[in-house]
Amino acid sequence: MKHILKILVNNHPGVMSHVSGLFTRRSYNIDSIAVGVTDNPEISSMVIVVKGDDSVVEQVKRQLLKLPDVIDVEDLAYHDCISRELVLVVVQCSDSNRTEIISICEVFQARIADLTKTTFTIEFSGNTRQVNHFIEMMQKYGIEEIARTGQIALRYRS
């Protein structure tokens, strides 16, 4: 099962290697990792998606909390949070399928960020399922290049 861990860390160099190193040496699998500074410039937020059963994730959390630069770890359940991932895809196109691709983008509310005679560069954001689905749709036209940010997430407010 996948878990989304939201980790608040001190924002200084080296913290990223401390955290990712912990995952490597304890052989926890990282699905995706996304880092950015919070509204407090001294604190960064890392969103790490890990695979594992509850006991593995509990162990990950406890090991993370032992790192002095880790301020807090929150385990966000999938159904309990808004998660987004941004993807940039370069898709091959021809005169014959250009309109088709544009209409798919409209359905997905994806933005065409650039186009050439033979390619579209499309920007799309959504949860992981939607992103995967969008990429799948584009595959049939031929993907030249792809860049994904990894997931970011926030808990729903009540």
């Binding site: 190193g21 630069d69 301020i71």
Partner: protein, 569 residues
């Protein structure tokens, strides 16, 4: 200008801070990138620097000092090779939770990342093996980093920290002598509040008919010996310790069942199999002790620890109490009832009688087990004992009993050969009036034998016992039992003359090979407060029993008597 505003160099500040924290001894080795610090150390009247022969020696000395005194151990190295020579010791201290502050020199900030002479990214290298580490980029940050690092090293579950100081940071001027705001969360150095259900914890223990205390190194770090004894005596609960927990409960106590695990006593391992409640006090269900799914499978398992990451890490438990062991026991003991458990204790006594620690002492050759028993007697069990790693380590753990904590110094988690000699030296510096014995083997001793020079230079009365079987004994034992006697690279066909080697450093020594010489040899060994080397020739085929093969459980224990039946000794 008032003193607080007067600027001093980073190096001066480093020395002043060490003095302020009460550090009076450091172990180290100078070199280019750490010279500004050494220059300031030269002027210090409060800090004694011990010059070692190899940085690995420095950190193991700091470990021996820290383990035997309970204080912070400090070691110094220069950049590059100096720093990387600390890696084994840092890993060792990490696995055995020893509070160490390692100070390393680094190339100047403008040279960092250029593959400069003697540059190594020791910050990056030591991330996985320190509790905390930092590369200090400005002299203004020194005070804060020092405070954070020492608090972290000693706080909670102790461990090693490393601070890396570029040479120009050591010469940079600063007036920031005190840290204003610490950047780390107090949970890393303050005692955690006790959490867990004390009542149900105590109720399960009170109901148990055959309870067992399983005591680890955490008990020593928490200074909880007194409380453990109180708990055991009040509840009539037998106590087994891990290799790291030796000394946390008196080894000669009537409730002591010795060490458990791979080379634990048969009665401790049988007690684990048959108990109905096992209470882990600051141990970590290490793989040399516990097989997940099979460890104390018929018992209710309970665990008290300061490190929440240890709960359910390898073995799942039924009851958990989180907190400082000493504090937790203080509140738990009043809830523990006096229960008569004589059937259980009598049963264990019978097992003790029927399955004692055994060896065949019929030949004229010296048996290390008998030798250690004699050494225990003659030193009245009062010595601080360090060991290296291998058969001699296990024999010492089995046959030299400890009634007090902080007297048994061994590399438990990492199993570091070469640990024993420097650890003994560090312990002797910390406890100048105690007898300090290093028990080693002909293999282990040669891993840091250069520190004989440190003993000679400072005239430290460390007693060095070398069991010589011209083999890597434990490797041989495994090869004999599990690799059909193919002794691949475990036989030493060349050893130095250890007695003569000692003489070269003005250390008196003696070699013994027959039983009749043992008595005299031990008297010579322990006599006075001078360093001595005692080389004891032992049979190569001597083995450590009982033994639980790696990856097996208590049920698969091989005892000495089993080998008599199969004809293999």
């Amino acid at each position: 200008m008032p003193k607080s505003e007067a600027k001093i160099t980073g190096a001066r500040l480093m020395v002043e801070l060490l003095e302020e924290y009460g550090v009076d001894i450091v172990f180290g080795y100078p070199g280019g990138a750490i010279l500004p610090f050494y220059d300031e150390l030269y002027k210090s009247t409060k800090i004694k620097h011990i010059l070692v022969r190899h940085e690995q020696g420095a950190i193991h000395m700091a470990e021996g000092y820290a383990r035997s005194t309970g204080k912070l151990g400090v070691c110094i190295a220069t950049s590059g090779p100096g720093a990387t020579n600390l890696v084994t010791g840092l890993t060792d201290a990490r696995l055995d939770s020893v509070p160490i502050l390692a100070i390393t020199g680094q190339v100047a900030t403008n040279a960092i990342g250029t593959d400069a002479f003697q540059e190594a990214d020791i910050y990056g290298i030591t991330i996985p093996i320190t509790k905390y580490n930092a590369l200090i980029k400005s002299a203004d940050d020194i005070a804060r980093h020092f405070e954070e690092a020492t608090l972290i090293a000693l706080g909670g579950r102790p461990g090693p920290v490393l601070l890396d100081f570029p040479k120009d940071v050591q010469t940079e001027l600063t007036n920031v002598r005190k840290s204003s705001k610490l950047k780390i969360n107090p949970r890393h150095y303050q005692k955690p509040p006790i959490s867990g259900d004390l009542d149900s914890f105590a109720a399960a223990l009170n109901k148990a008919k055959r309870p067992l205390l399983y005591v680890g190194g955490g008990a020593i770090n928490a200074h909880a010996s007194k409380e453990i004894r109180e708990l055991a005596e009040k509840g009539n609960i037998p106590v087994t310790t891990t290799l790291m927990g030796i000394g946390a409960f008196p080894g000669t106590h009537k409730l002591a069942v010795g060490m458990l695990g791979m080379h634990g006593t048969a009665y401790a391992n049988k007690a684990v199999l048959e108990c109905d409640y096992i209470l882990n006090l600051g141990a970590r269900f290490d793989d040399r002790v516990a097989k997940p799914g099979e460890f104390a499978e018929n018992a209710i398992r309970a665990h008290i620890d300061i490190d929440t990451a240890e709960f359910n890490k390898r073995v799942s438990v039924d009851h958990i109490l989180h907190g400082d062991l000493k504090e937790v026991l203080k509140v738990l003991i009043p809830k523990v009832e006096k229960v008569d458990r004589s059937p259980w204790l009598e049963y264990l006594d019978t097992i003790k009688k029927n399955h004692p620690l055994e060896f065949d002492d019929s030949s004229d050759s010296i048996k290390p087990q008998a030798f250690l028993q004699k050494l225990f007697e003659k030193s009245k069990g009062k010595a601080i004992v360090s060991t290296d790693v291998g058969q001699h380590q296990m024999w010492a753990a089995q046959y030299y009993l400890f009634d007090e904590a902080n007297k048994w110094l061994t590399s438990g988690g990492l199993g570091t050969m070469g640990y024993g000699l420097p650890a003994a030296i560090g312990a002797k510096f910390g406890n100048p009036n105690s007898t300090v014995i290093c028990v080693s083997g002909d293999g282990s001793i040669q891993m840091n034998i250069q520190e004989l020079a440190t003993i000679a230079m400072y005239k430290k009365g460390v007693k060095i016992l070398i069991f010589n079987n011209n083999f890597l004994g434990m490797v041989r034992q495994w090869q004999e039992l599990f690799y059909e006697e193919r002794f691949s690279e475990s036989e030493w066909n060349y050893n130095p003359d250890f007695v003569k080697l000692g003489e070269a450093y003005s250390i008196k020594g003696m070699r013994v090979a027959t039983k009749s010489e043992v008595e005299k040899a031990i008297d010579f060994f322990l006599e006075g407060d001078e360093a001595r080397i005692l080389e004891v020739m032992i049979p190569a085929e001597e083995k450590v029993f009982p033994m639980i093969p790696a990856g097996k459980s208590q049920k698969d224990m091989i005892e000495f008597s089993d080998t008599l039946r199969t004809g293999k000794k």
